[in-house]
Every structure is written in C-alpha cells, then in structure tokens.
C-alpha cells in the first residue's frame, strides 16, 4: 500500500459520488453522494498524513467530519421542510428556480 494506491482509491470514490450526484433524482441519495465525496477527501488526507509523517492531516479530517455532520443535519432539515411543502423529494419535480 503506497500513497498512489490511497489517492487512487480516493479519486475513484470521489468520482462515484460526483457522478451519482448528477445522475440521481432522489434528494436523500444526493446527500448520501455528498457524504461519499467527503469520505473520499478524508481518505486522501489520511493517506498524505501518513506519507508526510504528520498529524496535521488527521486534524483536518476532524474538521471535515464536523462540517459533514453539520451539513447532514441542515440538509436533512431542509429535506423535511421541503417534503412538508411539496409532498415529494424528486429533484425532477422541484423546479422553482428553473427559468
């Protein structure tokens, strides 16, 4: 296991999350795709932290985890409010901002 392996795995995971984010229409799964992407970034940070023999990367991972938790809480709250308003969470039906 080398830095190349870890970074490659992170890139593959990030691509899966990014592609899913644009392909899917269920809002909850979109938030899950964001979590996949954040996880991939965390993995790359841990890899570099090990490669450079430091603890900085792990400290950054804690920050990213906190932001991810906050994002999940606010995102899910918005979803609940949206569902109350529209009775659907299908992205193709939520198009207020469409020109």
């Amino acid at each position: 296991m080398s830095l190349e392996h870890v970074v490659g795995l992170g890139i593959v995971l990030f691509s899966i999350g990014a592609a899913g984010f644009f392909l899917l229409s269920n809002t909850v799964v979109l938030l899950l795709c964001i979590e996949v992407m954040l996880n991939a970034v965390n993995l790359i940070l841990a890899g570099f932290s090990r490669y450079l023999h430091g603890t900085e990367g792990q400290v950054y991972i804690f920050m990213i985890m906190t932001v991810a938790a906050a994002e999940a809480a606010v995102g899910l709250a918005i979803l609940v409010a949206l569902y109350r308003l529209l009775k659907t969470l299908d992205m193709s039906r939520i198009n207020f901002l469409k020109g």
């Binding site: 691509s15 999350g17 792990q58 804690f62 906190t66």
Partner: protein
C-alpha cells in the same frame, strides 16, 4: 504482504458499496450501502495507523450521521423512482464532466506533489499517531479552528431545529 491484501479487500469493499449507494433504487438500501462503505473506510484508516480517525469515523459517521439519515428516510417514507425512468441527457453529460474534471484535477495535483516532495520523503508507516499526539495538535496549534467548528455545530443544530419547526398560526 498482509497489509497489501487487507488494503485491496477493503478498497474493493469501499468501491463496491459506494457503487451500491448510487445504483440501488430504495433509499434505505442506499443508506445501508453507505454504512458498509464507511466501515470499509474506517478499516483503511486503521490500516494506515490513524486509529483515532477510524474510531471517530465509526462513532460520528455511522453512529450519528447515518442514523440521522435512516430516521429521515423512514419518517418520510420516500419511494425510489419507478424502474426504467429515462435519464436526462444533461444529467448524464454533467456526471461525465464531473468524472473527467475529477480525473484532471487528480492528474494536476499528482504532478504538483511529484514536483514538491523529494523522492523517498515518506514510505514507512508512522508507528502510532495516538490520541495524545493529536489532542496536543488540536488543542494548541488548531485551538481557534476547533472552537470555531464547535460554534458551527451549534449554529447547525439551531438552524436545523428552526427549519423543521412547524409554522405557528399567526392568529
């Protein structure tokens, strides 16, 4: 040797379950697949010697975030889209562009890393970045950021409560 085998097993598990998150139709199954991906990633952290991060991955992500997701999915009773719904061509193009951009950024970043790090700078596994070492970093050099993230969490909690609150009758 055993490390390489473990890495490949965990990496394949992570990629397969991440694919399941995207492919599976039922949101509950997606959340469960993400749980598997998080567990595999926690294993990778432990393999890399970042045991504290692995611990927090299990506690924070699996214990808090994914349970929150499960609660919402089950409370709202969300159905997946009907099978065979046509894909929006713009969405397909956008996802292809996202993958391409990720690959491009990775290539550029890789070149930058190769230019800036002398060969043979790393390699060996750092013995253990234990709790004490990380706590020392977190509470001395990164104290301000640490406190700011706690404020961020508080703001997010208050905001979530405010957003989901039922509107009171104005009368």
């Amino acid at each position: 040797m055993i490390e390489t085998i473990l890495f490949w097993v965990l990496a394949l598990a992570a990629v397969a379950s991440a694919l399941c998150v995207v492919v599976l139709r039922n949101p509950v199954n997606s959340v469960m697949a993400l749980l598997a991906a998080m567990l595999a990633t926690a294993g990778l952290y432990a393999l890399m010697g970042a045991t504290v991060v692995a611990l927090f991955q299990v506690i924070v992500y699996i214990g808090a975030v994914l349970v929150l997701f499960l609660f919402v999915v089950m409370l709202l009773n969300i159905k997946g889209p009907a099978a065979g719904t046509p894909r929006n061509p713009a969405a397909v193009a956008a996802s292809a562009a996202a993958v391409g951009l990720t690959a491009g950024m990775a290539w550029l970043g890789w070149r930058a890393v190769n230019l800036s790090i002398p060969a043979g700078a790393g390699g060996g596994l750092r013995p253990e970045a234990g709790v004490a070492e990380i706590a020392l970093e977190l509470f001395t050099r990164h104290l301000l950021v640490f406190e700011l993230t706690s404020v961020l969490l508080l703001a997010a909690a208050v905001g979530a409560a405010l957003i989901t609150r039922k509107e009171k009758d104005p009368s």
